[in-house]
Symmetry: C2
DNA sequence: GAGATAAAGAGTACTTTTTACGCTTATTGT
DNA sequence: ACAATAAGCGTAAAAAGTACTCTTTATCTC
């Protein structure tokens, strides 16, 4: 294994975390102060990411980055788009940063989106932090744009692939699933119809467990998504709608 | 503009062309013969692609490649995935080729899919050729894999975005549209229901022209897809099915 | 333990979309 | 003129989606 970094290729991960209320994005603090501590030159946030090693696969690099953050297994993640605009690193602070890190300012960034439930992805290091997607801080590079693209992409893929479950714990209540849909698409959904629809799906499996909510009244049934059942039943019927 | 090639980044385009019957893929002849003309060392096909220039955008590079092939404007194309497995170039002939072209065997390839109707994309040069997707020749590098991924991707995106029309001429008949669906998804569709459904869509606009088919009986009405109308009416309702 | 509360969860009626299939109309080659 | 072929219309049944009313269940408060 060759651990030298390829200077012009990186992976950046847009990790979306649902906390029961908001969709959040994991960001990493970027701080650089060459001279005077009172006048930091760079003090903003960026996506988690890193340059890849000479003999490393892209997926592996992305997993490595996630592992470095949490120490745990990487969450569900998929490549969604590569950003290679030669002008994506042109702001002064970004150029300065590239220089300080000895990386090529003309870096190709392979973008990954990742999904998790916040409680499943613990962060100790205060240099990493969740931000609600509707209240992002100042971001370095073109990361604001990358996040927007990732979110748009995820919303599209949710309609054709069962990835939304990754935003919830393995065992989840129907209300929480409904809540994810409502949050992501910014809509309201009729609880009763939603239940009927979901319960009718063979791959939404009811468990024998119940969950006591914080402001608990009646505890809710827990369900899980069965990838196996889902796979076995995909008729793969196209929509022919569009 | 800096026209030096970046040695480890390329774009590869999977151009799908519908000819009324098959889905075809455009391939480029790869031929290398160092010594004896009777024993070519490399004689196979690859995707059209090229390394990008130092100050070139990815999309621009992809368009350049298409332009080099046809001399015409590039067809509709979108990035779909980047291939960066360090072992993607390991076969002897591929290594030899990389050497002869002075490119890095550890090249990251940004994959684009592109869609056209074969008649809209004329090829003079016999080094470029259409191959039915079900009858591809021997392919270099990991291009077989890239094509498979591209096709899978396209089939998914067709369900959420109106890209299928790019496989047809601007003016098309409903039968030809039906035919594309049938070919891509390998299904049969009821002609009468399909017509009703399509005609009911505001963005499928009937024209005043008719088309006389080759084995013509009754000439068919021509339609076109209106991007404008489509955009104006997207309610963007999520499915909540999966 | 009675009653209030909040969410789970059934039920019902209506609308829209999809599917299946019979039949008619239009155009051209022979 | 007629056969052949594809375009195109109509109708009915099934399935899926939507809107709302009402009931049940478990827990907290008093």
């Amino acid at each position: 294994m060759d651990f030298r970094k390829i200077k012009n290729i990186s992976v950046d991960i847009v990790l979306f975390g649902f906390d029961g209320k908001d969709i959040n994005v994991l960001l990493s603090k970027r701080y650089l102060n060459l001279h005077n501590p009172h006048y930091p030159i760079i003090d903003d946030w960026v996506l988690t990411g890193n340059h890849i090693f000479k003999s490393e696969r892209l997926d592996t690099a992305a997993q490595r980055v996630m592992h470095d953050v949490s120490g745990h297994d990487a969450p569900f993640m998929r490549q969604f788009r590569t950003f290679g605009n030669p002008k994506r690193v042109t702001k002064n602070k970004d150029l300065l940063w590239s220089q300080s890190q000895q990386i090529d300012p003309r870096t190709l960034s392979v973008g990954y989106y990742a999904l998790t439930h916040c409680s499943d992805f613990e962060i100790q290091d205060p240099n990493y932090q969740w931000f609600p997607i509707n209240a992002l801080p100042e971001l370095g590079f073109d990361h604001q744009y990358i996040i927007e693209m990732a979110f748009k992409y995820v919303k599209e893929i949710i309609n054709v692939s069962p990835i939304i479950y990754h935003l919830l714990p393995i065992k989840f209540t129907l209300n929480s699933l409904l809540s994810v849909y409502e949050t992501i698409f910014d809509i309201t959904i009729d609880n009763r119809n939603f239940r009927k629809k979901m319960i009718s799906k063979p791959y939404i499996v009811q468990l024998d467990e119940k969950e006591r909510q914080p402001n608990s009244k009646k505890p809710a049934n827990l369900y899980m998504f069965s990838k196996d059942i889902y796979r076995h039943m995909i008729t793969e019927k196209p929509r022919i709608i569009i």
